[in-house]
């Protein structure tokens, strides 16, 4: 079984210093990897590098799968309504032959945003905006999910929804890398762990 994503000695430099210690990683289908590390250890930078947003300053990164990345900022347009955001996302990201997307309406209902279809994303609460961002995973499915602290500002009910999403995705041969602080994914599965250590800071 080929890994979806392999990284060896991958790192990213800012101010000509490594943000995090070089990382080795092989992400196989149906596996989830939880990334832990102190604040500022570079978890977000690692995720953005794996997603291809940042170009790795060191090491090698190969991706053999479609990727969905949800970063710190929700990545939804405030001046578009919820439905318009999802319609845009469905068309913007590449279609996957092996994955069948939900319609924007179904996704909104699943995300518990049914009553807010016409409302502008800018008028939603932080938790609702995060759920709208996560709904992207339903309308534009991808093999690998890279989620940067998906549980932030979500209530317990929504956190369970995220767990169900992850569970469904993994049993559907998907893979995921998730960074998390207090709330960790609670799944009946083995969670691989990856410790991110801050890069070499000058003395």
């Amino acid at each position: 079984m080929k890994p979806y994503l392999t990284a060896n000695q991958v790192s990213f430099h800012r101010h000509s210093e490594a943000v995090f210690q070089p990382i080795d990683l092989e992400l196989y289908p149906a596996t989830i990897c939880v990334v832990t590390g102190a604040n500022g250890s570079g978890k977000t930078t690692l995720l953005r590098t794996l997603a291809g947003v940042l170009r790795a300053s060191e090491g090698e990164l190969t991706r053999d799968a479609s990727i969905a990345f949800i970063g710190h900022r929700a990545g939804v347009k405030d001046d578009l309504s919820c439905i318009e955001n999802l319609v845009f996302m469905q068309r913007f990201y590449p279609k996957q032959a092996n994955r069948h997307p939900l319609t924007p309406h179904q996704a909104l209902k699943q995300a518990g945003l049914g009553p807010y279809i016409r409302r502008l994303a800018g008028h939603l609460s932080a938790g609702q905006r995060r759920r709208l961002a996560l709904a992207k995973l339903l309308v534009a499915p991808a093999d690998v999910w890279l989620l940067d602290e998906p549980y932030t500002s979500l209530d317990t009910h929504a956190c369970q929804w995220v767990d169900e999403l992850l569970d469904g995705h993994l049993s559907d041969q998907g893979a995921a890398i998730v960074t998390a602080h207090q709330r960790q994914p609670s799944l009946a599965r083995t969670l691989h762990r990856l410790e991110v250590v801050a890069g070499a800071r000058a003395a």
């Binding site: 800012r14 101010h15 000509s16 000058a202 003395a203």
Partner: protein
């Protein structure tokens, strides 16, 4: 042969080696600059006869022309350094590309001011939209744009890389500006008297120009190394190599 150059350049990439290289070279460059400058000025002002048409006002040529050439040569140097910055990301190349910009701007300024003053007896006004002066003015804005962009970033390295993109865009743009400005002056025939300069450039007028041009090139080298050395020190104030370079950590390490 190519591998030696690449190796040498890579070695220059390390801050300590570059610092020492700069420190040894700067006094020599300044020394040579002063010698050639003295020779050039002496000839320009005391030896060369006045021009039969322009009288002595053409002596301004001996600073105006070297400054103009240096303003453009600096940009070529910056282009090479910017390419190295974007491809191999060698840090000293980044720093030199960015620190060369203010020097280029200074020479462009000298060229503009001396050109305007020289034009005064010819055109009756200080500023005339002569094709080359106008191109120089736009070049000054290009330099100011690069300096402004670099200064606007907190992360020095990110700023250098982004300003390097602007340098490369400028390389394509500067010849186009020059061409379009030339065309523009020919379109509006009436607006400017064209070229100024000595009516004929006979051989006796040449040597001072060569001395002055060499002096300006050496001066550029010295200024560039000084500024690059400063920027390197400023960025790495707490790094180990700085202590070693300034021989402070010597006694206890």
């Amino acid at each position: 042969m190519w591998t030696q150059i690449k190796l040498a350049f890579h070695k220059l990439g390390s801050p300590l080696i570059f610092y020492r290289f700069a420190q040894t070279l700067i006094p020599w460059l300044w020394g040579l600059t002063l010698i050639t400058l003295a020779a050039g000025l002496y000839q320009a002002l005391f030896v060369v006869p006045p021009d039969y048409q322009q009288g002595d006002s053409y002596r301004i040529l001996y600073i105006h022309v070297p400054a103009a050439w240096q303003a453009m040569a600096t940009y070529i140097v910056m282009t090479i350094l910017a390419t190295i910055t974007l491809i191999w990301r060698i840090r000293t190349a980044e720093i030199m590309a960015m620190t060369a910009a203010p020097i280029g701007a200074a020479f462009t300024l000298i060229c503009l001011v001396t050109g305007a003053i020289w034009g005064r007896p010819m055109w009756g006004t200080y500023w005339a939209w002569d094709a080359r002066l106008t191109s120089m003015l736009v070049l000054l804005f290009v330099y100011l744009g690069i300096m402004g962009l670099y200064a606007a970033f907190d992360d020095r390295r990110q700023g250098a890389r982004i300003a390097s993109i602007l340098i490369l865009v400028g390389v394509v743009n500067i010849p186009i500006i020059h061409f379009s400005v030339e065309w523009w002056t020919t379109l509006h025939q009436g607006s400017t008297i064209n070229l100024f300069g000595p009516s004929t450039m006979d051989a006796s007028m040449l040597p001072p120009l060569i001395w002055m041009t060499v002096a300006v090139k050496l001066m550029f080298g010295a200024l560039l190394l000084q500024r690059a050395r400063n920027e390197l020190l400023d960025q790495d104030q707490r790094k180990k190599w700085v202590l070693e370079a300034l021989r402070m950590g010597g006694h206890d390490s």
